[in-house]
């Protein structure tokens, strides 16, 4: 029999001999490997974004940094329309440039089919050349004409049921008709750009944009640079361009497209932090599982002492023995690996669901994943196999043959050190999990400054908004509708911001970026926004119509705007744009949050709505809620029979805003749970050994009158000591980590002492429960049984 086969056979016999410990060891490592693999899948999927663009490394996005007074600033990808052609014609290193803008989900109709949420992108003709979107059917030059569009396969499937879509006419946003010129492919996942319909940028003109104006920041600008371009150099050449064009507070910068998914222009709240967090958890889990393996192996090796001795007596060298144990431990890891793979397959669907990702096995071909998996297995091998093998084989032969080996103090404390490390890591995870959950609850319960419950909205398009008067008249008559308001947009969308406002007593140097919303006078009451001062708009604007988009009538500002404008006693003072209009300020709204609480409150300006509204907002009574919704839908269908009514909910909308945080904190808790579970497996295994060592002591103590509770206390004391030390080590680490994470939020909870106390108590309770299972058994044992062995 070859050495290989012989050692494997022997390893297998030893695994079977210690079934219980083998099971703990193999199980722990298998779970660790499986969870780590799933985490790595997640990480690689995140790293895999935008890879489909052939020239990815040469693509850069231009972004603006706008600076205002009092440290207010804005990083935005919105740039002037003429920017791309200017850059392309001026700088030879710019091979190609494209202007494009995403208009969000729009209602699209074809014959009697209508879908409300079709992503519409406007782009110039270079868009498909610069990025790698393939034209699968039709005319590649379709974007040159403003009445043609390209559609993705998803839209083809929705509307055309097997027919060729080329030449068919789709109606977008109620009144814009486009002919399908081509079918284009756009990946559904791992992409920063998504769209369903691609139309010419010239359509923006029809929406009121002047494509030659430098003062208006709207579309995105992406550049394809010559290979090897010094981007710092290019950046320094273009950074002042907009200052020359009149935007004196704005600088231009280049952002590599490779960073698009994981970084922000402002370099704050970068998504990459989640990658680091998840990799850290993966590392912790591997470490905890490996430590289990090491501890359990060295602890159980006490029983292997005689064998090692005999082998040495019979001529085995240290290398022979290391080799033998390496096979045995390696075999265990191999079994764990197989089990781990099975677990990965079993939990893949659940994980995909939790992570909201389509995790596919095709990722296995990814070289980073292969590398990371290899590193994982290699580090487990080194950590869990090498050390125990060397440790066991180093027993001295003459000592080994003596009866009971003396407990080796230093080894034991090395093992305790590893347990402390495990528990420290676990407690850090527990504290972080509690802190993350607390923060998310804090956000959920935060007074947003308006009441989102029972508040619904209905978006209107160009065809339906003309019916807004009939709709609102009918809706108001429905018994469950408490209030109704009209606005030019939903408050979630930041919308148009400008710093070109003037007001009475303005310091000419004070530049404030203010976001404008047009709303009717019921707006504040409907949404439950309180006025700190003054009143809402006068009723004379209720039915007023103006042609252009200028400001009319009266002004209401939020508190944040007043603070930034440094205005006191605002009621009656005047406010306007470009020194032109002088409108009286009639009210001050208390600050309210519509954006994610990651962001602070922005200065807001509200003026009366004097055009057709884009959205209706209704407050509904909680009683008979569904019945009221049904009445709203049926009224809509009476008035506009050819378009369906789609109702949105404010509270759901808000929840979606925190979706990413919620998912990630959810995953975080699951992974922490796994880590703690594996650590407990290890503690359990170790307690069996520790108690076995004290078998005789327990017997003697009992013979001399010790009670079961006293024995229990004696046995548990050591373990509690370890947990307490771990807790003391873990607290500052967790505090620092969580403090860093909370920096991402403009509104954050405090890291109260109870978070740490709760984690500490949890850890002790879990540890005591784990250990007590064994120590109780030992404590109630008949003392003669223990002493008989001597």
């Amino acid at each position: 029999m070859s050495t290989f086969k012989r050692n494997l056979k022997l390893g297998w016999r030893n695994i079977l001999k210690n079934k219980f410990f083998s099971f703990l060891n193999i199980g722990g490592v298998a779970i660790g490997m499986a969870v780590t693999t799933l985490i790595l899948f997640w990480v690689v999927d995140e790293l895999n974004y935008d890879k489909y663009h052939k020239n990815l490394s040469q693509i850069y996005q231009v972004y603006e940094h706008q600076v205002y007074s009092d440290g207010q600033d804005l990083h935005t990808g919105c740039t002037p329309f003429p920017l791309s052609s200017e850059l392309k014609s001026t700088y030879p290193e710019v091979i190609n440039a494209s202007t494009y803008t995403f208009l969000g989900g729009q209602p699209v109709k074809y014959q009697n089919k209508e879908y409300k949420d079709i992503g519409l992108m406007l782009a110039d003709k270079e868009f498909t050349n610069l990025f790698s979107f393939e034209i699968t059917e039709g005319d590649a030059k379709a974007l040159e004409s403003p009445d043609q569009i390209m559609i993705t396969q998803k839209v083809v499937d929705l509307f055309f049921d097997g027919e060729s879509p080329i030449g068919k006419v789709l109606t977008v946003y109620g009144s814009y008709n486009f002919t399908v010129g081509a079918v284009i492919s756009c990946p559904e996942k791992n992409t920063s750009i998504t769209f369903d319909i691609l139309a010419s940028i010239k359509v923006a003109e029809a929406l009121g944009a002047d494509l030659t104006r430098w003062g208006n920041n709207w579309p995105f600008t992406s550049l394809l640079l010559e290979e090897g371009t010094n981007t710092d150099n290019l950046e320094s050449k273009i950074t002042g361009l907009l200052k020359e064009k009149g935007q004196e507070n704005t600088s231009l910068f280049l952002f590599p497209y490779t960073k698009m998914h994981l970084y922000n222009f402002s370099d704050k709240n970068n998504r990459i932090q989640y990658i680091y967090q998840f990799l850290a958890i993966a590392l912790i889990i591997v470490l905890i599982a490996s430590i289990n393996f090491v501890n359990s192996s060295t602890a159980s090796s006490e029983t292997r002492r005689p064998e090692v001795g005999i082998r040495k007596v019979l001529g085995a060298t240290k290398a022979n023995l290391t080799n033998q144990f390496f096979y045995e431990k390696g075999l265990m890891i191999a079994i764990s690996l197989v089990l781990g793979i099975i677990l990965v397959f079993a939990f893949m669907p659940l994980f995909s669901q939790l992570a909201d990702k389509k995790i596919s096995l095709s990722l296995l071909g990814n070289k980073y994943l292969i590398l990371m998996l290899f590193v994982m297995v290699a580090s487990i091998l080194v950590l869990s196999v090498a050390y125990p093998s060397i440790y066991i084989s180093s027993f001295a032969p003459a000592r080994v043959l003596k009866k009971a080996p003396k407990g080796n103090g230093s080894r034991f404390s090395f093992r305790s050190m590893l347990v402390v490390l495990q528990f420290t890591l676990s407690i850090v995870l527990v504290i972080c999990t509690i802190a993350v959950t607390t923060q998310l609850n804090f956000i959920n319960d935060y007074d947003l400054g308006y009441n989102q419950d029972n508040l619904i909205y209905i978006n209107l398009d160009e065809a339906t908004q003309t019916k807004h008067e009939a709709l609102s008249a009918e809706f108001k008559n429905i018994t469950g509708v408490v209030n109704l308001s009209k606005a030019d947009k939903l408050p979630f969308y930041g919308g148009n911001s400008s710093w070109g406002y003037d007001w009475q007593g303005k310091d000419p140097e004070n530049k404030v970026l203010i976001c404008i919303m047009r709303v009717d006078r019921n707006y504040f009451e409907t949404l439950g926004i309180q006025l700190a001062e003054g009143r809402s708009f006068s009723s004379i604007y209720d039915n007023m119509k103006t042609e252009d988009s200028d400001m009319t009538g009266e002004v209401i500002l939020n508190q944040e705007a007043l603070k930034r404008m440094k205005m006191e006693e605002p009621i009656g003072k005047t406010f306007g744009r470009n020194g032109q209009e002088k409108l009286p300020i009639v009210g001050v709204a208390k600050d309210f949050h519509f954006e994610s609480l990651k962001n602070g409150i922005e200065p807001m300006l509200m003026v009366p709505l004097t055009q057709d509204p884009d959205v209706l907002i209704l407050r509904i009574q909680p009683e008979n809620f569904t019945k009221t919704l049904a009445s709203i839908t049926s009224k809509w269908e009476e008035i506009i029979p050819d378009t369906s009514c789609e109702i949105g909910f404010f509270d759901q909308r808000l929840e979606r805003m925190y979706n990413s945080e919620k998912r990630i904190s959810g995953l975080f808790s699951y992974f922490s749970f796994v880590a703690i579970f594996i650590a407990c497996i290890g503690l359990f295994g170790l307690s069996v050994f520790a108690i076995e060592r004290k078998r005789k002591e327990i017997g003697i103590r009992k013979v001399n009158g010790s009670k079961v509770t006293q024995i229990l206390a004696m046995l548990n004391k050591d373990f509690i000591k370890w947990v307490v030390i771990s807790f003391l080590l873990a607290s500052p680490i967790a505090w620092y980590t969580m403090n860093q994470w909370l920096q991402n939020f403009a509104y954050k909870t405090t890291l109260d002492w109870w978070i740490f106390a709760l984690a500490g108590v949890l850890a002790i309770v879990i540890a005591v429960l784990t250990v007590s299972f064994q120590s109780y058994k030992a404590a109630v044992r008949n003392p003669v049984e223990a002493l008989r062995y001597e």
Binding site: R6, N14, K17, V313, A316, A396, L401
Partner: protein, 232 residues
């Protein structure tokens, strides 16, 4: 074959220093059968461990086959031990996870012999020890006498020059004990040097010579078998 001069061994713990061997001078010729006797704790096993190259002395010199080996490193001791010295213990010290055949084969594996050679040698020695029919069994399935026969088979399979036996009959009844002693005598008659530690006067009668140890020192060692018979 074995010669020690002023051999000492001291065990130290944090507080206590225990002298196990004190200037021990022993000389064993090739082909001799020597018994080491003495009360518990007199240093018999310590002496045997040093002779068997399992441990190093704290002082003095030890010549094995004419070579000074008292201060060899563990690695070199292992090399010298392999194939030259066989061990038989009171508690048999078989490996539970290995079958009878595998236990006996073990020294040959560490000698790096080829599988076919090993098979031949193992079969032969198992036959001789009359234990061939149990070669696939594991130690726990055997009686004490059978286990000790396996242990002796393992000790002699590589044809060592020296067999060290530490109370080989201590865990056996008298019938099995006699059988084991007869086996050792047979091996000695074939030319193998044997050094045996024992408490049993009966066993010591098989030896040519008895070394008496007391408190780590040699008291008598040239007591001939015949002389002792006269004294008794």
């Amino acid at each position: 074959m074995i010669k020690t001069t002023d051999l000492t061994k001291v065990f130290r713990t944090d507080e206590i220093e225990t002298s196990a061997l004190n200037k021990v001078n022993v000389h064993v010729k090739k082909g001799e059968f020597v018994a080491i006797m003495g009360p518990s704790g007199c240093g018999k096993s310590t002496l045997l461990n040093i002779i068997g190259l399992l441990d190093n002395p704290s002082g003095g010199e030890y010549y094995f086959d004419g070579k000074q080996v008292g201060h060899l490193k563990e690695r070199n001791r292992t090399l010298l031990r392999k194939g030259n010295i066989g061990f038989v213990f009171q508690s048999f010290n078989l490996i539970d996870e290995l079958s009878v055949y595998e236990n006996v084969e073990l020294p040959l594996i560490y000698l790096k012999l080829k599988a076919r050679e090993r098979k031949e040698m193992v079969e032969k020695v198992l036959d001789r020890m009359k234990i061939s029919h149990r070669k696939k069994h594991f130690p726990q399935q055997l009686s004490g006498g059978q286990q000790q026969r396996v242990a002796i088979a393992r000790a002699v399979v590589a044809h060592p020059k020296l067999i060290l036996a530490d109370e080989p009959t201590g865990n056996l009844d008298s019938k099995n004990g006699t059988e084991v002693m007869n086996l050792l005598t047979e091996l000695n008659q074939e030319g193998t040097t044997i050094v045996m530690v024992t408490h049993s006067l009966r066993d010591s009668e098989y030896a040519h010579r008895i070394i008496n140890l007391f408190d780590g020192m040699v008291i008598t060692q040239e007591v001939k078998k015949e002389l002792r018979e006269m004294l008794l």
